[in-house]
Symmetry: none
Subunit: 218 residues, 4 copies
Amino acid sequence: MAAADIKEAEIKPASEHTRMRLLDAAREVFSQQGFQGATIREICRRADANVAAVNYHFGSKDGLLAEALNFAPLAALQQASVKSTECPPIRLRLFVRDFMLMLLDEKNASSPCRIMARELADPTPALDQIVSEAIAPLHEFLGNLVREIIGKNVAEAELRRCVHSILGQCLFYRHSHPVLQRLHPKLRYDHKEINAISDHIAEFSLAAIKHLEKSSRR
Amino acid sequence: MAAADIKEAEIKPASEHTRMRLLDAAREVFSQQGFQGATIREICRRADANVAAVNYHFGSKDGLLAEALNFAPLAALQQASVKSTECPPIRLRLFVRDFMLMLLDEKNASSPCRIMARELADPTPALDQIVSEAIAPLHEFLGNLVREIIGKNVAEAELRRCVHSILGQCLFYRHSHPVLQRLHPKLRYDHKEINAISDHIAEFSLAAIKHLEKSSRR
Amino acid sequence: MAAADIKEAEIKPASEHTRMRLLDAAREVFSQQGFQGATIREICRRADANVAAVNYHFGSKDGLLAEALNFAPLAALQQASVKSTECPPIRLRLFVRDFMLMLLDEKNASSPCRIMARELADPTPALDQIVSEAIAPLHEFLGNLVREIIGKNVAEAELRRCVHSILGQCLFYRHSHPVLQRLHPKLRYDHKEINAISDHIAEFSLAAIKHLEKSSRR
Amino acid sequence: MAAADIKEAEIKPASEHTRMRLLDAAREVFSQQGFQGATIREICRRADANVAAVNYHFGSKDGLLAEALNFAPLAALQQASVKSTECPPIRLRLFVRDFMLMLLDEKNASSPCRIMARELADPTPALDQIVSEAIAPLHEFLGNLVREIIGKNVAEAELRRCVHSILGQCLFYRHSHPVLQRLHPKLRYDHKEINAISDHIAEFSLAAIKHLEKSSRR
DNA sequence: AATGAATGAGCCTTCATTCAT
DNA sequence: GATGAATGAAGGCTCATTCAT
């Protein structure tokens, strides 16, 4: 394995290096301009690569998107929560905060999560893959978490809507960012602000879920 | 004179007919493909008009978008609520339901609201106009409504976040429609489903707001 | 005749008025932008007329150009000179001055002469007409005038070249106007400057012609 | 290495071949139709290249024009004259002849000089560049040459007009070519004719300049 | 007679992709 | 294997012209 690693690192370094730079540039541009708005030329320019490099390495713009997506961070978030020993409400709070950091933190500007968020409304060739590999598990994870809090008396459909309510609140800040910037030009998504937003969403959602739980017992 | 009016009402439409068809087609295509994804050619094809018709009637693609937007329905919604004698929670419920009907009802497939929702995340030349003429008033309206429920003790920033939570939940169903269709292929946005969703969002939000109100009194 | 004039002035005033305004606007735009650069829309805009008015009144853009041209002023110049009792050199001086006034004076900004000058190098459908009705007579007139000064000993070809030399000097100031403006930004074609230029061209040309006359006698 | 050079000289042309063909075609079309009248499609058709080739190689129509212009031949003309040991009148004769050969000789049909001549009257994006890099030096060169003949007593403004007179005579044959063809259908610009024209212009101008010099001494 | 509406050809440019080394 | 060059489809837009009143 070490040998293989060395081999890979030594034999195709130039080629792999270009691949990586292309993927980085692609994530950057896709998350900023969207899949449709992004151009192969701009991506190659930022990666300092030839215009033909994308098609050479990834076959097409679609192929580049597919490889640029990386569901690991999102999955890790869920894994961390599942393995945690905290109580469900705390785990929800932690999840929301980490999710918002992925969506809003400037350091994650080219996060696959951001790309996914951008493409939600605009079916790209990769959406099927995104849904089955990232979004469906996410909904399931959140469903389980909410179920732990809300109890068994609430119907599945209502539970799903709770998940939608949580995700909707989170995604709003990403989708409506251009709007919010115009409404509140002074607004900046620093860590303090992201924490405040996350706290609000968690508090808001937990209060609502607990209310629904109470109602369901009657 | 009445005759003249009738004549006008009959003749003008003939000359204005193309304009109207173009606007309808534009709303349809814009709300489906987004501003960037929409092509003048496709719009003209659906309107059964010449490619040059858009530039003749509206000057440019931008001009067409500006005229295709119509903030009246959204404003009417708010007016109706403001003038209502119902208590604030009921007014919130009614607003959410009507807003969701605009966003999801198949009969409103080319609603300006849908176009606006699509463009939120992707600044178009019209976004400034959309924000100042439609979205800012909407946020203000919801802010006032929530304020009536949540009381004076809650800070302005937190109030704003409540508005965002409500809007985020509503817009989620529009933005994530392609995703939800894949997750739940059987899902249809008929009136029954829209009502269920609206009820959930209102219930969820009211419970959370009342919880925040209670917290603020301590 | 008076009756006819009145009739014309009274019966089709509106229609004729539009025609005239179109012709004026056309001369203005043609002389500023050239035939190719001019657009029917701009002409109609300046004439405050419908876009279809040009085609209605003149059949086409070409037809408008043909009617916008008016060779009378140029012909009048020659007539005046021919009828004059002055000696040939003086008549040449006077002609050059009047010709330069037509080409350069701001008051003649839409002079047919200017339009013609613009189109010399760019064959338009009207060039044949311009040549046969205006330029050929002009060359002939100048040829006769120069012949009176240069005598019979000079060959026809050389005489023609003298005419070309005179016209070339005159037209230079019109053709190269954009260049001269850049070379000498302070330059203005006021009457004083036009007189100075005309004097120079006449002096320069007469000296040369007299020299050629002298040479021919040897 | 010599082999490599040869290889380069053989291979590079293959890749640069299209560029060259495009430039040649562009000079041809620009000098015939003017910048505005020329179309990228026609240029590419003559160069047997794709419509997108121009934008690939030169960025835009403007960029193509900028590269199609080449002021070297005109500058070389002036250099040759400056370095010559001939007397000023002879140098003027030689310059006029070479200048006319550039303007009229069929072998120079796509000479940058011709393009420049076409654009004089119709400001293109490149006119500023043309003026500062080619025309201003040309005027200065001719000014110096005429000054040597005309002496110091003649005012600068009058000197400039002499330069204009010379250039005007030369350019006339280019600008008015379509007209002259119609007036004298048999006329051909073969070397004999160009020599005759050049001799006339030089003779005509020298006589006039010497006359002005004599006048200035009085 | 006269005009607002509509047309289709054509413009320059941009794009993802493919070709030929 | 990797790249500069080339491609053709399509984009928004402008134009002179024609249509239908």
